[in-house]
Symmetry: C2
Subunit: 455 residues, 2 copies
């Protein structure tokens, strides 16, 4: 199949059907009506705004999360916005199916309606970046900018988003560090199509700066400040937000995820295939067989995940993994790689080490034999001998990597993430064995298929 | 038992009985008669001289090796001395029980007579060190000096020699680096008795120079030249030969053997016992159990010992062992110790290593992914991933210590002793297994009982 055929097939899968569109539209109309009625009944000066991929018509078939923003006038005090916003959200949600309170910069209501997740987020009704007061305010500006500039290339955005999901580079959360939906839209607007975006993977990295809003002409000082700040932080790309010159749209994009995009774009152009968009489930084999093949050993620390959101937990786990890597290498174990995550309530840190035991004796060189210190050494040690003029003795050392880790933790000799230090102290430390639910994870890590660019 | 009792008991064992003395005397008289008759029958101008411990009456009971030196006039050309000396030796030996030719600086005859080994060594009839022309000439001077100075302290010499044998510090051969018999005699003459020698173990090391011949007064320049030369070579002691100011009697004494003497002297004075003179056979246990206990591994190279004398072979083996130690540490194996030797025709090098296998994969860091070299790296490797901006890949490496050693030898990447390089190439390389005849050696090495000062 050539590229066009493949793209055609993919579009058939990811473009919403007429039926689906009708459902989404009726859903939004109903939600809007409910919101407006509730606002009126509460006597509030608030307008409902749909944002996100549903509002921009860039959503993928079957992916119907609704972002309903409740915009308050700019002169509303922040405290009042928080309070009334949550009150309004709850009041709307009462008329939907079920809801809970979620916490970001402000608390907001996360409800479900007709099988769809609906976020009810209070914000300010901003007209320009100068009005932006809370983290979510910008979304309304983003929404408008995309609608004004996309020019019917919605399916190109769908293709790019699906491609990024397929290659596991989608999502701008801090623990993912991939591409956001908004960034995908900007790329399509900038380069014209899905394929052109792929073809520019190398070029855009060399250009470094993408400035679709022309801020470097319109607000040179501010835009340059952004460029300098982000360049200093060594971000792979600096995409000056077309709605706000102070912001890098790609601020959360990491080199690793950009690298995946870079190589996968090349691979797709060389040899296109549906599997880039819909990868077959990675073939998982037996992690124990992989261990045997590699001749290495797997240490897993598993513990009850403290009640932290992913953005906080994951970096803490990574930090702790690096702490173990460092501490173990001081102790004579070579850490070939590490992997962290959370799986059904359990947080884990996996360390691949080169051996399970280190030698139980070490040769301890002593001083010259005919000195005061020589006599001390002679008295203190059991097996003592001379090589040249110096005394030597054998010293027994800790043996098993598990014992070493346990002792390191006990003695606080590992740099651990703050929020999880105590949890790690109570961790199960497992050697060459993982609980059932971590078996796949262990295989994908040990085989490096988790990250393999050629996988 | 107190020290005197112990010394008494030991003397009963090592002092020759009247019967034994009578045997030795008759043996020497017979040999002298045979030598003189042979010399006369050949019409040579040669005199027979007994040297060594038998001639000095410092031999240990049961230890009857005879050194019969055949002294030629000083004006004999060296070639003639070699030729006639060997001829005469053979002629004498024809009248003894059996003989063979041995090789030192000159060939000489090694015979047996009445169950005793008899060396027939041609040399010059020197009167002073200025006449010395071959390595053995000095023996006649040594003999005379000891007889003139010992003053009846022969048993003290016997005690010291037996003590040095007992603690495995006796023998000045280059591969032993211990004390010679002559040196033991000098020490007794210098310090007066066996016990005084022990008491001065620390003092003499600090004094550094022993000059029983007063050469620093009589031949200052020459003696100082010896002192400077030996000090520069960092010898533990400089004992200016009382019969030759150019020579350090302790030139072949190593720090290790002096160290053994140093600590054993201290131990004996603290807590005397017969076992210093007659150690119980070292208790040998199972070397495999020792390996398990230590958690280390034993690599043994065993090969047909090339036809070299110990003085040449042993240093070559040591050099090769050091070569393996260095090469293996470059390869990620830690060598905790080594041991070399020869046992029933087989030469061996034992290496105690910390592990039997190193990891079979190594993480290979590559260049930044968006560079030319990055693309090369991406193409060349199978499992490739990104950390930060850099590519990484797994690299398979050689595994087993035996394979690593085999490859190191094949690729000439080990510094090996010249004379045994080829033999080592054909060596059996054994892991955690040694042939039956090396089992004790393996245990004594691994347990360090071979060298343990407290053993």
């Amino acid at each position: 199949m050539d590229t066009d055929d493949i793209i055609g097939e993919i579009l058939d899968k990811i473009r919403p059907t007429e039926e689906e569109r009708a459902f989404v539209e009726s859903l939004m109309m109903e939600l809007k009506a409910i919101a407006e009625e509730t606002i009126e009944s509460l006597g509030l000066d608030v307008k409902p705004h749909f944002v996100g991929s549903l509002a921009k018509d860039t959503y993928l078939a079957g992916d119907h999360d609704v972002d309903l923003f409740l915009t308050f006038p700019l002169d509303t005090p922040l405290e009042k916005l928080r309070e009334k916003g949550l009150e309004l959200g709850k009041a709307i949600a009462e008329r939907l199916d079920l809801y809970e309170i979620a916490y970001a910069e402000h608390p907001y209501v996360r409800a479900r309606y007709r099988g769809v997740k609906v976020d009810l987020v209070p914000c300010y009704d901003v007209k320009s970046w100068r009005d932006v007061r809370t983290a979510v305010d910008r979304s309304i500006l983003h929404n408008r900018w995309v609608l004004e500039n996309l020019g019917g290339r919605n399916d190109e955005v769908r293709l790019l988003k699906r491609f990024l999901k397929g290659i596991r580079a989608y999502g701008s959360e801090i623990y993912i560090r991939g591409f956001s939906g908004y960034f995908a839209e900007i790329l399509v607007i900038k380069y014209g199509s899905f394929l052109e975006v792929l073809k520019n993977a190398d070029f855009m990295l060399r250009q470094k700066i993408i400035d679709p809003g022309n801020w470097l002409k319109r607000e040179y000082e501010l835009a340059m400040k952004t460029v300098r700040r982000e360049a200093e932080a060594d971000k792979p790309l600096i995409v000056i937000d077309p709605v706000d010159p102070r912001r890098n749209v790609a601020a959360n994009l990491g080199w690793e995820k950009y690298g995946r995009f870079y190589f996968k774009a090349y691979q797709f152009l060389e040899s296109p295939g549906e599997e880039f968009f819909f990868p077959k489930g990675q073939e998982v084999e037996d992690y124990l067989a992989e261990l045997r093949k590699k001749g290495t050993h797997l240490v897993t620390l598993a513990f009850d995940a403290p009640n932290l959101v992913e953005d906080v937990l994951l970096p803490q786990l990574e930090r702790s993994a690096r702490g173990f890597e460092k501490a173990l290498s001081r102790e004579g174990f070579n850490v070939l790689g590490w992997n962290v995550g959370r799986s059904s309530g359990k947080a884990f840190i996996m360390l691949e080490v080169d051996r399970r035991e280190r030698e139980r004796v070490k040769i301890k060189p002593g001083p010259e034999f005919f000195t005061e210190r020589g006599w001390d050494f002679y008295r203190k040690n059991e097996r003592v001998w001379i090589r040249g003029k110096r005394l030597f003795a054998e010293k027994r050392v800790k043996e098993n990597v598990i014992d070493v880790i346990t002792e390191l933790i006990e003695k606080n000799q590992v740099g651990l993430g703050k929020g999880i230090r105590e949890a790690i102290k109570g961790a199960d430390v497992l050697l060459n064995y993982v609980p059932k639910e971590l078996e796949d994870e262990a295989y994908l890590f040990l085989s490096r298929e988790k990250w393999n660019l050629k996988g």
